[in-house]
């Protein structure tokens, strides 16, 4: 069963093109890695997949719904970790999560579970701006799974994660469909079954199954 089906996705910014005719599909439970250099269009693509942005043209369906129209409904089942953490510096880690709980309509009890999951249980009371970059990233990941989404979209989550980050990502991605953008081929290898390579907004080659290299 396909979770994501996208055809001819194109994204324009004024006269500049971020994505040019990208097709992709992702099946349920699959983990897809999107690789490519900076500026290749990974972030643009991921934002569209997360319904944070709408493509200039092209079709995209997520869970069978038209993703450019049914955004509000889809957002309830999608978790997005963007490039920037999206946290409130003056609030503590726990308070940040509580705030998002209210927005998500999720019970506050989840906060404790999620803090455990991302390994921030001891730092729950620390203001977010006093957390290390790695801890902030963990918190952002926690925020994205607060509502137990079925689809997880992660934009270079490994960029600032500290050690043990790969394990965390594996834990978080387990049992969900996931699309992750990264530079790290080894990580992609470990976490995902398929890759997609972008260069200058276009898909290069064919989405391949990763071979496990021993």
């Amino acid at each position: 069963m396909s979770v994501i089906v996208a055809a001819s996705l194109t994204q324009r910014f004024g006269s500049e093109v971020g994505l040019d005719g990208v097709d992709l599909d992702v099946d349920a439970g699959e983990h897809l890695a999107v690789l490519g250099d900076n500026g290749a269009g990974k972030t643009t693509l991921l934002r569209i997949l997360a319904t944070a942005a709408r493509p200039t043209s092209g079709r995209i369906e997520i869970f069978g719904l038209n993703a450019t129209i049914e955004r509000r409904r889809l957002r309830g089942v999608i978790g997005f970790v963007a490039h920037a953490p999206g946290l409130y510096p003056a609030l503590s880690a726990a308070e940040n999560l509580e705030f998002y709980c209210t927005l998500q309509g999720v019970d506050r009890g989840r906060v404790g579970e999620v803090l455990e999951l991302v390994g921030l249980a001891e730092l729950a009371r620390r203001p977010a701006d006093k957390l290390s970059r790695g801890a902030q990233q963990r918190l952002a990941i926690g925020r994205a799974v607060l509502h137990d989404p079925k689809l997880l979209v992660l934009d270079e989550p490994d960029a600032s994660l500290d050690s043990g980050g790969a394990d965390l990502l594996a834990r978080v991605m387990r049992g969900r469909t996931a699309v992750i953008a990264t530079h790290d081929h080894a990580l992609a290898n470990r976490l995902c079954q398929r890759t997609l390579v972008l260069r200058r907004g276009r898909v290069v080659g064919v989405p391949t199954r990763l071979r496990v290299v021993q």
Partner: protein
């Protein structure tokens, strides 16, 4: 000659006709003297401006509702033309004011609200320029255009709602002699025609600019600049 050139020529001809009515047909005002003739163009420009801003309002609503790019383009064109006519109104007003009141400007309700109108639509054009081109610029501008239109009835009714120095409504109150009335309606019709032609021409320009922008496709791939994107 393209239809735009023909339209432009027709509009110019219309204005010449109107000028004829203003200077040759209409009598000189007993009280104010020749300077009163500014009234015809001044009021016509104001009405043309209102009309333009009404187009901006409708275009904006149409865009927000249906994401109709043509509607947004029309709104853009009308906003610029409307701003031009507002400028004409203000300038003609100031030219009239100096000999009549002894000063170019006064802060009465009509003048102030008209100036505010000018600022609002100048803001509209600035938002278009500064926001991300495409959807964001169009949405934001539509919102500004809709809120800004609230000032139009204020401008129009300011002379009845408040005590102002600005002369009160004369056309509606039937305070004009028939010849002046005729001259006024002719001028107004010609000015509205001119405004329509200007909007049509500007629309075409905007259309060409949009099409040119879309052609610059393959070479540059940009990183998105919206909040949350790669910087």
């Amino acid at each position: 000659m393209t239809k735009y050139e023909k339209g432009a020529l027709a509009a110019v001809a219309a204005m010449v006709v109107a000028a004829g009515f203003i200077f040759l047909y209409a009598p000189t005002d007993a009280l104010q003297g020749p300077v009163q003739r500014i009234f015809y163009l001044h009021v016509s420009s104001a009405i043309a401006a209102y009309g333009c801003f009404a187009v901006v309002l409708i275009g904006g609503i149409a865009y927000l509702w249906k994401e109709n790019v043509a509607a947004d383009r029309l709104a853009r064109a009308a906003a610029l033309v409307g701003l031009v006519f507002t400028t004409i109104t203000l300038v003609m007003g100031m030219i009239w004011a100096k000999p009549t009141w002894g000063t170019y400007w006064t802060w009465d309700a009509r003048l102030t609200s008209t100036l505010v109108l000018w600022i609002i639509y100048a803001g509209y054009l600035m938002v278009r320029r500064l926001a991300d081109p495409g959807r964001q610029a169009a949405r934001f501008a539509a919102v500004v255009g809709i809120f800004g239109f609230i000032d139009v009835p204020v401008v129009h009714f300011s002379v009845t709602w408040w005590r102002t120095q600005h002369p009160g409504p004369v056309v509606i109150n039937d305070a004009l002699p028939p010849q002046m009335l005729v001259a006024f309606f002719v001028t107004m019709a010609c000015t509205l025609f001119l405004a329509a032609v200007m909007i049509a021409i500007r629309y075409r320009i905007e259309l060409l600019m949009d099409q040119a922008a879309e052609k610059v496709v393959p070479a540059a791939i940009a990183a998105p600049t919206e909040a949350g994107g790669v910087r």
